[in-house]
Symmetry: C3
Subunit: 153 residues, 3 copies
């Protein structure tokens, strides 16, 4: 199955991508690497706020991370025109809005990692760092940055 068939099989529709209001862009290609900006969690198009260890459970955080993975795929689709040009998901940086006591960032991050594995197969197996941060823009619960390798242009 192609990447898009797998997305359909999981009933995932990639959202429209809106360019950021600020002075940066959603991704930059350099050589065969695509550096994708940190994407913050959204629910129904608005910031998905909350802090793990306080207002949100680990399961909710994992769901938020999964939703960000969908947004990251939407951005990569917009950047490349074809997600099948993704040769490898190289690395995720997963930032979890955490209290000073919450220690399950790795379980939250799995929400994104597992979906990317389902969609991209072996090409979706990535390196990863996950940790708890003091806050995230707009109070979002999770933010994820991604590096992908593209097939040569």
């Amino acid at each position: 199955m192609s990447v898009y068939e797998k997305l359909r099989a999981l009933e995932i529709t990639l959202p429209e991508v809106a360019p950021p209001a600020a002075a940066f862009v959603l991704s930059v290609r350099t050589g065969n690497l695509l550096f994708v900006s940190g994407h913050i969690a959204k629910k129904d198009g608005t910031p998905w706020t909350g802090k793990l260890g306080a207002s949100l459970t680990t399961a909710q955080g994992k769901e938020a991370a999964r939703s960000i993975a969908i947004d990251l795929m939407a951005t990569m689709h917009a950047a490349t025109g074809d997600l099948n040009k993704i040769a490898r998901i190289v690395k995720l940086l997963v930032l979890v809005n955490s209290t000073l006591e919450f220690t399950e960032q790795q379980l939250v991050a799995n929400g994104a990692s597992e979906l990317l594995g389902q969609i991209f197969g072996d090409s979706g197996l990535h390196a990863r760092s996950a940790f708890g941060v003091a806050q995230i823009p707009l109070g979002c619960c999770v933010e994820i940055e991604l590096i992908a390798e593209l097939t040569p242009a």
Copy 2:
């Protein structure tokens, strides 16, 4: 206008670059990528301390981020000999010393992003992640790491 003419037009003088005291270097080139170490905010050459959401306003944090962008350009000038060899600012990682409640890291980060856009034009348009951290070395208010693409050697 060249990069240096734009710096002059904005009355920006790049500071002298002092190598770090510790066991690392300010930047490493690999292939066409230049990885620049996290630079901490300084004011008059000393650490620009404080925490967003407590002792500093968003506007002050934005000013600190702008000043770090100047220091990053000084480091890239020292590393390359000529800032016009910067083909693209690829990505910023913007760490904001934040309380557990402060949620305007993106506005702080704009201080660096906007200046890089002014100086480098389209080549200054970068991917970016910004988030709040618990602390920064020496108590500095902002720290920024950068990846740039250089013209082939």
Copy 3:
């Protein structure tokens, strides 16, 4: 001396590498770059927990960072088959589990930076970012992510 002779001279034995239980891998090679996942501090094979500024001293944190550098070398050895294929340690991202007041993350990070310098010499001189995070998976005190340049395949 080769990298392995230097490890022996320092009486360092690289541990066995266990693949992560989760949906990611310990490292990904893309081109000549090796992106190594964030490694969390361990002591006697179990999570090395604690927070700098509270339950751990800077010296203890530095020791934990040094131990992670050993684990990172074990992962790079497993990934490459030969640590002498590391052309350059490019960058470290050093995350220190910190109170909102602890400001010596750079001294903690030196535990990793200094060991990599001892083992790899000039090739071990890397760019670096170090900062304090709210928490780390499993409550570990330090987490380090690494990028290395490999000799061409």
